[in-house]
């Protein structure tokens, strides 16, 4: 059990290089608190797995250091780090039974039989593997094999952290949900530090207390699921989190006034003047937009399309060349394709060169 600190970590698969494009991970600093449930979220190829492998010691970073509490473990081999890691695809030992598979990590560390047996049986019950305990692992389904992989990760009770590398990819949706809540329960019960890599935002947001969003080898935001939703610090986070993602529209800014295509919106906060070359955008969640009758106040937009997805409707509207998504419970009383687009100004964010800027209360 330890706090894990990454200090100036950077990694390039082709060795040290002066070209920043060679780096799969670009200089990051982060501390994982002992006992935290973290999700590492980002699109494929953004360096999530690289980061995990650096923590577990399967990779030695090109630059920077890894600390467990105060001890520098950057050069320590995986076996001595006391880390559990579960991979995307099931890894099982073909010639062993399910019992032997689950007992393997304990057996390798010289634990006694009397200690191993009750632990294996308890864990097998938790994962629903108890009736297959004495079957050869290679005869089981992919689902069951992945459960064995999970089991081998969870069997040791004193690990520094458990790392999950998209472990539920091969599991069918019903079971996926069940296993995820089981992991959450295990986290509450035993207080392991858990780091869960995924590119699925629902998975990340339901699993974690804190979500780390990565994009092209960099951490773009660390925060609670709520913070990621309300105040994305980077336009990428805005796009990536939420379905559909945040509307991000070019605009110009003067104090508390935003101009979109010549139409004015008055915001709650004042903003400093920006350099004339800066890229200024306004970002607003589809959930905080609404449509009113054409004669009411708002931006005059044209409704292009309305999708009914059950609980709510998603409208796509256009203002000249710019398109917005609007999430509404009901589109009542609308006739024709004209409407007024109304902003919830308390939840409107301003981005300068893709980064969120803070305004001042008047």
């Amino acid at each position: 059990m330890a706090n894990i600190t990454l200090k100036d970590i950077a990694h390039s698969y082709t060795g040290a290089s002066s070209n920043p494009d060679d780096y799969a991970l670009k200089k990051l600093n982060l501390t994982w608190r002992d006992g935290g449930a973290y999700a590492l979220l980002g699109p494929s190829g953004c360096g999530k797995t690289t980061l995990l492998n650096i923590i577990s010691g399967l990779l030695t970073p090109t630059k920077g250091q890894v600390f467990f509490n105060d001890a520098d473990v950057t050069r320590l081999p995986t076996e001595q780090r006391n880390i559990a890691q579960i991979f995307q695809f099931p890894v099982i030992y073909d010639t062993m039974t399910v019992f032997q598979n689950l007992a393997f990590p304990l057996k390798n560390r010289g634990r006694s039989k009397s200690e191993i047996e009750p632990r294996v049986i308890e864990l097998a019950k938790m994962l629903g593997l108890e009736k297959d305990l004495y079957t050869k692992a290679q005869h089981l389904t992919a689902d069951a094999k992945q459960k064995i992989s999970l089991g081998r990760g969870l069997i040791r009770q004193s690990v520094n952290a458990i790392l999950f590398d998209e472990p539920l990819t091969v599991i069918d949706p019903q079971l996926k949900w069940e296993l995820r809540s089981q992991l959450k329960y295990l986290h509450k019960q035993f207080g392991f530090t858990m780091i869960y890599v995924t590119h699925d935002q629902t998975e990340a947001l339901t699993f974690a207390d804190e979500v780390i969003v990565m994009y092209e080898g960099e951490i773009v935001q660390v925060g609670t699921p709520e913070a990621l939703f309300e105040r994305p610090e980077h336009t990428f986070v805005g796009y990536f989190i939420g379905s559909p993602g945040m509307n991000i529209i070019p605009c110009s800014l003067q104090g508390n006034r935003v101009l979109i295509e010549g139409h004015r919106i008055i915001l709650d906060r004042h903003y400093k003047d920006q350099a004339p070359s800066a890229k200024i955008e306004v970002g607003i969640r589809p959930e905080y937009l609404s449509l009113a009758q054409p004669h009411e106040e708002g931006l005059p937009v044209k409704i292009l399309k309305v999708d009914d997805i059950g609980r709510h409707k998603i409208a796509r509207v256009a203002l000249n060349g710019h398109q917005f998504h609007v999430v509404m419970p009901e589109l009542s009383g609308m006739t024709g394709d004209k409407a007024s687009l109304v902003f919830d100004t308390a939840h409107t964010n301003i981005y300068v060169n893709d980064h969120l800027i803070a305004g001042e209360q008047p």
Binding site: N53, L58, P77, T78, D94, F104, P105, Y134, K136
Partner: protein, 294 residues
């Protein structure tokens, strides 16, 4: 009706294959079967002798000796080449410039014709001019494969190891390369030792290619002819007269067609039987406790 016509045409389609197999395998084999039940004194006159040749052969000491020599030879070279091949494959690099270098140098012995290999070692081992034989002799070793049966056996075994271990290496290496990285990573996480990685990951994943390696090496070594014929000609005495050498002596040297035919049939059945046993045993390894024993 239509279906039946198509069926009849299909017979014509397989006819070429049938003819080919008939001429290349079935008819020669049946000729041998035919010879094995008859005796001849030349001038194409044959007399029916029933099972006599088989009975004689099974009780003949000459056949027993050749058979035991053959079993011992195959046993020894399998016991050496399979583990040695696995060890070399494990030591070979997985990436970088070393891979093509290793693969090509491993493949070289396999490209040399059998009788050339025999000749190379025949000269290599000669006491008067051979590098190996002369060096050993001048170092004071009593090495002479033309007179000492032990030296003859050692020479032939080392030659076979030199010639064929590469095959085991290449097959094992292919098996090793097909293991995904995640297995090695998981083993590190699980704290597995080097031996455990071999025992629980590499060996099970190599099982199929090893089965092929063992079958190929067994069949080839059990039928070995050219190299010992070139090096020792079956001597000194009869000490390196393996079954195929004995068979050729009987059939062409003594022109005993009947006994030779009987012997080749037994030889054929033994190889078939042992290959079947190897295959069955190895395919069943790791399957026995699959159905939930406790």
């Amino acid at each position: 009706m239509i279906a039946k016509q198509i069926n009849q045409k299909a017979w014509f389609m397989v006819l070429p294959v049938f003819l080919l197999v008939a001429f290349s395998a079935i008819i020669p084999l049946m000729t041998v079967v035919n010879y094995s039940f008859q005796d001849t004194f030349g001038s194409n006159q044959f007399f029916w002798v029933g099972m006599d040749w088989f009975r004689d052969l099974i009780h003949s000491e000459r056949f027993h000796d050749a058979f035991l020599r053959q079993l011992a030879f195959s046993g020894i070279i399998l016991a050496i080449e399979i583990p040695l091949g696995i060890i070399i494959a494990l030591a070979m690099p997985r990436k970088g410039w070393g891979v093509p270098v290793c693969l090509i140098s491993m493949a070289l012995p396999l490209l040399i014709p059998w009788n050339v290999v025999g000749t190379i070692w025949q000269i290599f081992g000669r006491v008067d001019i051979g590098l190996l034989g002369h060096t050993l002799a001048s170092l004071g070793f009593d090495y002479n494969y033309t007179q000492d049966p032990v030296a003859a056996w050692i020479t032939i075994i080392i030659m076979d190891i030199w010639h064929w271990t590469s095959l085991v290496v290449l097959l094992s290496y292919a098996g090793l390369c097909s293991i995904p990285d995640a297995y090695y990573q998981a083993a590190k996480i699980d704290g597995a030792s080097r031996i455990a990685v071999f025992r629980y990951i590499q060996l099970p994943k190599m099982q199929r290619v090893l089965l092929i390696a063992i079958l190929l090496r067994f069949m080839d070594s059990f039928m070995i002819y050219t190299e010992p014929f070139v090096i020792t000609g079956g001597g000194p005495g009869n000490s390196t007269t393996f079954m195929s050498i004995d068979l050729v002596k009987m059939a062409i040297g003594q022109f005993d067609l009947g006994p030779a035919a009987a012997m080749s049939l037994i030889y054929f059945l033994v190889i078939l039987l042992l290959s079947y046993v190897f295959y069955t045993v190895m395919s069943n390894i790791g399957e026995e406790s699959s159905k939930g024993g406790t």
